[in-house]
Symmetry: C2
Subunit: 461 residues, 2 copies
């Protein structure tokens, strides 16, 4: 069969699996699936919107038989090209959005892959529980997508990423069989840890249809939210280093630069005070005094402690809204996601600043400074070849700087198509060629026909 005929056959036979109203094969709706949140694009042939695991299983069996590439998609909030691709079928899991169980004794939530993260936390809140990892896209991103990406967020400085919060998964393997991996138990040592292989697998090993997530009681005392202005990145860095060496363990430890804050003020009609460097901190009441002392010693110009929930939310929005505010400028963006050791943070930020000047590109910086995971956003103009070239070079230099400093080219966004080259460089530099080889063989072991999100991530390295 030619490629075109294979898709025709797939399209013909899919109608016995999902209803015609849940197949999208043309028009604007199809176009929506051909792009992700950072404008990575692909040529999607067809979208299927299954409503349960059985339908996903049958879809995968059909794709396996015809060797048709499948891309699983949740909220589409990837920023690395992980949910788009050429000549592929998208399996949209957003109809599978049921919260199946909130277990108040065993502290887990059992959900379908299409549940939106904020919806889950709204339900959990009613039971005095919550799920800590909080990607900036939590209003949109689905549990399945966030597991597949191994997502992070602001609270990860204290609570870790999705890697630390998934107990078990139900997945459809590339052969179409439905299996459960892991156990919904606090401890389980039965067999090799396949759950963590799937966390951060970017849809390349199978399709996640259900998850059992760890949850914990909401804190009895809310931490206090601080909004701290500093006149230089050096002083911000000094504050972070001293905080890390003290016993203070903030549950949020974020950074935004002047340009981010000005954009947010403008786009979100806020009037927050502005300085060169702003830290957003969530600190337990008992640690407020020592934190203020450290900040003062780091020459903080202004230390605001939120007086009420509204103000706390406003401070939060100043950080959470940066990416959307940047997108609101209409400029094209390249989003970085490197992590460097925290004691090298300030060198790294200075490097980014100088790089922007040297390459004559605008780079806005903000992110999870307490993790060493800051997201420089490179602004450029796709239509202008020089601008694109400069942006790409800046992007590459930032990745290589991180690799050289013992950092990683991705802390939470993943690889997709965006960072294939640098993933390879990093693994060869830090881990060894055996490791890359083992990872490639792992992919082939799970997906011998290469139908799961092919041509990306490790396989493409």
């Amino acid at each position: 069969l030619t490629e075109k005929n294979i898709f025709s056959e797939f399209a013909a036979r899919i109608s016995s699996i999902v209803g015609s109203e849940d197949i999208i094969s043309s028009g604007e709706k199809l176009a929506e699936y051909s792009v992700d949140m950072a404008d990575f694009r692909g040529k999607i042939m067809l979208v299927a919107r299954p409503e349960n695991g059985r339908e996903v299983s049958e879809l995968v069996k059909l794709a396996n038989e015809l060797r048709v590439p499948l891309i699983a998609r949740g909220g589409g909030s990837s920023v690395t090209g992980a949910v788009v691709g050429d000549d592929a079928i998208v399996v949209d899991l957003t109809r599978m959005n049921r919260i199946l169980k909130i277990d108040r004794v065993n502290w887990y939530a059992h959900v379908e892959a299409g549940v939106i993260l904020d919806q889950l936390n709204q339900e959990l809140d009613k039971a005095g529980l919550y799920f800590p990892p909080d990607p900036a896209s939590s209003f949109l991103c689905t549990v399945g997508g966030a597991v597949a990406e191994g997502s992070g967020g602001m609270r990860c400085v204290k609570f870790g990423t999705f890697k630390d919060w998934v107990l078990a998964l139900k997945v459809v393997l590339p052969n179409g069989n439905i299996v459960k991996i892991g156990e919904a138990l606090p401890k389980n040592r039965a067999g090799y840890d396949l759950v963590h292989l799937f966390i951060g697998s970017e849809g390349t090993l199978g399709i996640i249809t259900e998850a059992w997530l760890k949850i914990i009681p909401s804190p009895t005392e809310k931490p206090r939210r601080m909004f701290v202005l500093l006149d230089s990145w050096e002083n911000a860095g000094k504050a972070i280093l001293t905080l890390r060496q003290s016993r203070v363990l903030p549950s949020i430890m974020e950074f935004v630069d002047r340009e981010s804050l000005e954009l947010v003020n403008q786009k979100m009609e806020m009037t927050l005070p502005v300085d060169e460097a702003v830290l957003l901190l969530d600190v337990d009441e008992k640690d407020i005094t020592v934190t203020e002392k450290i900040l003062q010693e780091s020459q903080a110009r202004k230390i605001l402690v939120a007086r009420d929930d509204d103000e706390a939310q406003q401070f939060y929005n100043a950080r959470a809204g940066v990416y959307l505010a940047i997108r609101g400028t209409g400029k094209d963006v390249m989003v970085e996601d490197v992590v460097v050791p925290i004691d090298m943070l300030m060198d790294y930020l200075q490097f980014v600043k100088k790089l922007g000047r040297r390459m004559k590109v605008e780079i806005i910086v903000g992110g999870h400074i307490g993790d060493g995971n800051v997201h420089p956003v490179i602004l450029y103009d796709k239509q202008n070849r020089n601008s694109q070239k400069a942006a790409l070079q800046a992007f590459e230099e930032i990745c290589r700087y991180a690799i050289k400093m013992g950092g990683t080219v991705t802390g939470e966004h993943g690889v997709g198509t965006q960072k294939v080259k640098f993933l390879r460089e990093q693994i060869l530099a830090h881990n060894g060629s055996d490791v890359l080889q083992l990872m490639k063989e792992l992919k082939r072991l799970f997906d011998p026909k290469g139908i799961m999100n092919p041509g990306k991530y490790v396989e493409a390295c």
Copy 2:
């Protein structure tokens, strides 16, 4: 070459890798390596005690060439047969016991595999930091062994097991090549998660030579330690259930039965008060009042809150000393490690109690009740065939009960040779035959010649 000749050749060539004083080939010293902490035995041919990763690498290359089985061993505190085997070479890693770095900014400890866990925590304590997972054998067990076993402990009810605390590993692959997997960073999404494949791999995928472990600041306020006596297991269970549903999050939540406590009092010359069920809890000061209320409502007969560090240590020893006190009786033991959902704990404990009566075997119960991970210890007499038969049947019934209730046959001790049959039953019942198949293929992918701790764990299923 015959098998005997292969070992002769291995023995002859090994002397160019490690010094003769670091080769043990006969006598009492060799016998010490032929048994683990639960009396699993094997016929060890030779022990090599390398002093660095290069020597481990050369040993593995030699074993790979000659297809000689290797068993990595740390403190030897396995209770499942994971560190013994027949016609195998033991690689003893205890000489590799250097703490390479304690990073106070990035919060990790970089250590060699042979570092004893308590030694690490003693060093960390000087810097106001600690590593939470605390297997009962922490005075003896090594970091490498605990990573390979995915060990747990008392503090895991709040902090999780080794699965949650390893950032990166240096391992010698079965081909003898040294690679690093993971990154010593709070977040890293570069490639499939091989670190978690090695955590709990029981020495079957390669030999761990170094680890980068997450560490955190010691709490500024020590939790209060409570020792609670109840007149029945039902009431203990009621207390646990109510605590889980409240917002109290104890950092220790342990259980011992009357028999355990009497043994500990006797063997350790203590005079702790005794009752049918005893709970050991570490509770933050702010939660003491609500905890006491819940315990009173569960008919607790006595609630002791430790008045000083000495008393707190005594309460702790009452739980930590149970296994050694049992071993002090000279009786043979089978140690269980199942986990059940916490709301089924009391049914499970009643089942164990009745089972003991029905089978006429003595079963002592204690363990991590806050995790649903209780360790029944079956006492029997190896020399008496009927006793052995009854003990084995009790062991099997407990495993099958756990599988039926949605539990796991191992929470933290692993599989080794002890639970091969039940691991298979559990995976087939809960996960599916595809999962077992994938796990077996994973083993072959990493270790195609089958030289790493062969004939155990998943491979043997």
